[in-house]
Symmetry: C2
Subunit: 518 residues, 2 copies
């Protein structure tokens, strides 16, 4: 009877208050699928009967079903009704992302699971091992957790706190200041700004960015070498395409990183050999020993390794750029959170060491909000033409670009970064203190920077900790999800995105995290 | 002495009145480069001395130089000053687009060139023959005109009017109403809207679009089947990719159209066989006679053929959809200006005939502004998953999408479309009347709709007319630029984008056009 709807329907009913019925119903259904309470193939009741059960309009249910079919959670076939889909979809949607702070704080605190070994077969098998996605898909909820067909327990739905890395505190987005910048940008924009734009993006934004990046990150930028992109992923996809058509065979990547990024490179036809790492970070020295010319570029998070959290030491920075220079290769510098260093002034971007060999990639996704879809590349002279040609005629949204230009120009960007940096720093300090108090076996590793920290766990405890987190409704990822498949598993840890929750949910999230640490 | 600045500076001075000095200076400099009056390598005076010459602030000059460097018109190197760049850039900027109506009306009216045959070699050779781009590059000014290094004549700079098709009147963009919608959208947006979004775009926009498209264009749309894109080109590129990976070999295209679009399809590895046309439009009947299964889709501008201007007659609409249904193929319906029918209610979209075989593609680029980079596809159920997977994690800019949703929801979109439709209709009527009065040999062809009309010219006069237009500083394109390379040249005509100029320049543009007609 685990698939029996009636029980679940009654359970759901508790959640369906407030005006946003359809969205609430969809969230409840997603959560039920994610948690395993509704398993693949389960037939849902007709929209008519569920609507009657829940006391809501039939259309509300029908629309929710249709949306969830479109999102891949459900399937609908004539004659066989609406069923829970098998989760083999190649596309995952973001709408499944849990919203931190929506429900009450955790009530199932007593259910902590004990330690426990790794599941031996889980590393290389199936679909989950080839690098997790942060800020990419989200529908799968807490990866690696989904308990198969949990019995339907008479408890309130799982509270959810989101400590997945990759997203800033969206509640801190400076709406009033942004609107002010947008209003001024719209008022000042020449008519031609509303036309088909420069493929590189608005000159106003590129001009302001050139100045800002020089000042904040030591980047040598001229407006003509900047290309504005719809997020880092568009930039990386374009670079992959350009490098491939230049005859580059391989782009080396770090031992840990986002599978989404290597996927973009392999999608462009490139190999992605993995650089080893040691306690000082990525061993860029290995590049010199490779087959000459084979590796045409390296994708690096030099200022703050993602996710492990180290900064590439000075001698390796020098060696990396030296290798690029002597071999004619490029460094693709993913400077995703370069503005957020808490302990001291951030080290300048690698790009400053050699603007002709380093492609600098920055983004507003961490400093402001991913929903703006605004990122930028500063390109070596020799790549500008090819990247622009690959980008085609898409100059991006002109008004948002002009708004960002005005936002930076007016000083609002600096003020915002300072404000959220203080807040993230405070959260990180609280995390460090809480870990020291609650889990002496756990160590916060990496530099004091960015929007996330790695909690190094006692060997062999990562999977059990993740299971405990899932049980407590805490969305958090393990370092193993970011390990490239060929890298031997040697670390146990949690990647804690302390920036992710809104202020109102931060304490609850931190408490939930403490409950699940070994 | 053709490179001597002083002469040019004095000449410029005539143009530099009014408050928008920097923009005016930039236009003047671009025009001087474009026309050949300033040749590659010419060193410009220092910003200080030019500012003194012109009696304007030094910063104004310095800013204009910096912008033009960013745009690729000039180069600046330490020690060698600011020089005119070599125009070998593979990327062209849009900012070089001539701004219609900025200068006084044409004075060189007496210089009309007589008729004259086509340049025989110009059809298939070089880069220009494979279909022109509208709204793509623009920096080259009037195509085919640029006279090499004109002597510096003691006349005012060439006036420029822009009647190239593809852009609405950007001065009519409803800035106040748009800001209102944006403000409300930003105030109402949930925090999660600022995160990584649904790949299909915001649900709010898709919901509003589903209702609007059903009402305005007879499209059968459900929000789950709509995918919001950064312009039509992103949509078409995605469809090309998906069709190719489904094993489709060819996507048929019309005899006349945008080379940019066929380029996107061939870039995805697809063949683009050309459908013949006759006086009733594209001969879709030919599809039935082809090799079965070879053509997997057809790209069609059914409501208003671009650029020729006809509407696909009812029997051919039926035949086209019938062919798609019986062969399992798709029709890609490019409904770029479907809201602009002047003579009667527009015929509904083809998609209404069979939503499972027709992909509907609409855009805000003609109804509002291309700079918004907002377009949408309504997909057959079977394509949704693949298109979403191909689109990856890019959900587009959330705030602009929410603003458009609010703009439509509030009725502002309908009001705007009605307003500009009346204006374009009036302009088209004036064009028809002027042609009848001034050029009895010329005929306005196509239906009364859209943002452009085709003026059918006497046989053999197109190239000479284009040369005359260039001489008069009138940017306009011939139908030959839109002819697929394999289609025999049988039409002579001008594609007149009467929507392009602002109101203030429309009369001048129309007069200039009349002067160049045979």
């Amino acid at each position: 009877m685990a698939n029996e709807w009636a029980t679940f329907g009654a359970d759901l009913h508790l959640e369906l208050r407030g005006p946003r019925l359809r969205a609430g119903l969809m969230d409840a259904l997603r959560e039920a699928v994610r948690s395993g309470r509704l398993t693949a193939g389960t037939r849902l009741p007709s929209s008519r009967s569920l609507a009657a059960d829940l006391g809501i309009a039939r259309n509300t249910v029908a629309d929710a079903y249709a949306e969830l079919v479109a999102e891949g959670w459900l399937t609908a076939r004539q004659g066989s009704g609406t069923r829970v889909a098998r989760r083999t979809d190649p596309h995952r949607t973001e709408t499944g992302r849990t919203r931190a702070g929506r429900t009450a704080s955790g009530q199932a605190a007593s259910a902590r699971t004990a330690g426990g070994g790794r599941v031996a077969g889980s590393r290389f098998g199936g679909g989950g091992a080839a690098g997790g996605r942060v800020g990419g898909g989200g529908a799968a909820g807490v990866p690696g957790s989904a308990p198969p067909a949990l019995p339907v327990l008479p408890r309130t739905p799982t509270p959810s706190y989101d400590l997945k890395a990759g997203t800033p505190d969206l509640a801190s987005f400076p709406r009033a200041e942004w609107l002010k910048a947008y209003r001024r940008a719209l008022a000042d924009a020449p008519n031609e700004a509303l036309g088909y734009g420069d493929t590189r993006g608005r000159a106003e934004l590129r001009t302001v960015l050139a100045e800002y990046l020089a000042r904040a990150r030591g980047v040598h930028a001229r407006p003509g070498r900047i290309v504005v992109c719809a997020g880092f992923v568009q930039g990386l996809a374009l670079l992959g395409q350009v490098l491939r058509s230049r005859g580059v065979r391989d782009v080396a990547v770090e031992s840990y990183g986002l599978g989404l990024h290597t996927g973009l490179l392999t999608g462009a036809g490139l190999g992605t050999p993995v650089l080893p790492f040691d306690e000082r970070g990525t061993r860029v020295e290995e590049l010199a020993g490779g087959e000459p010319g084979a590796v045409g570029a390296v994708l690096m998070t030099a200022a703050h390794q993602f996710p492990l959290g180290g900064a590439l030491p000075p001698d390796r920075r020098t060696a990396l750029v030296g290798w690029a220079r002597s071999s004619g290769a490029f460094v693709l510098e993913d400077d995703y959170d370069g503005e957020f260093r808490f302990d001291r002034q951030p080290v300048g971007a690698l790009q400053g060491l050699d603007p002709e060999r380093v492609v600098y990639l920055g983004t507003a996704s961490k400093s402001l909000a991913p929903g703006l879809r605004l990122a930028w590349m500063v390109l070596p002279e020799e790549l500008v033409g090819e990247v622009v040609a690959a980008k085609g005629t898409d100059g991006g949204n002109a008004l948002e670009q002009l708004a960002l230009a005005e936002f930076i120009r007016s000083g609002a960007y600096d003020r915002h970064v300072r404000r959220v940096r203080l807040n993230y720093r405070r959260r990180r300090d609280q995390l460090v203190a809480a870990v020291a108090a609650h889990s002496p076996e756990t160590r916060v590793s990496g530099i004091a920077a960015g929007l996330h920290a790695v909690l190094a766990l006692p060997p062999g405890t990562e999977q059990a900790t993740l299971r405990a987190a899932a049980w407590h409704g805490l969305a958090v990822q393990g370092v193993d999800q970011f390990r490239r498949p060929t890298v031997p598993p040697t670390l146990d840890g949690l990647v804690v995105g302390y920036a992710t929750p809104p202020d109102s949910a931060w304490q609850g999230a931190l408490e939930a995290l403490m409950r699940v640490l070994p």
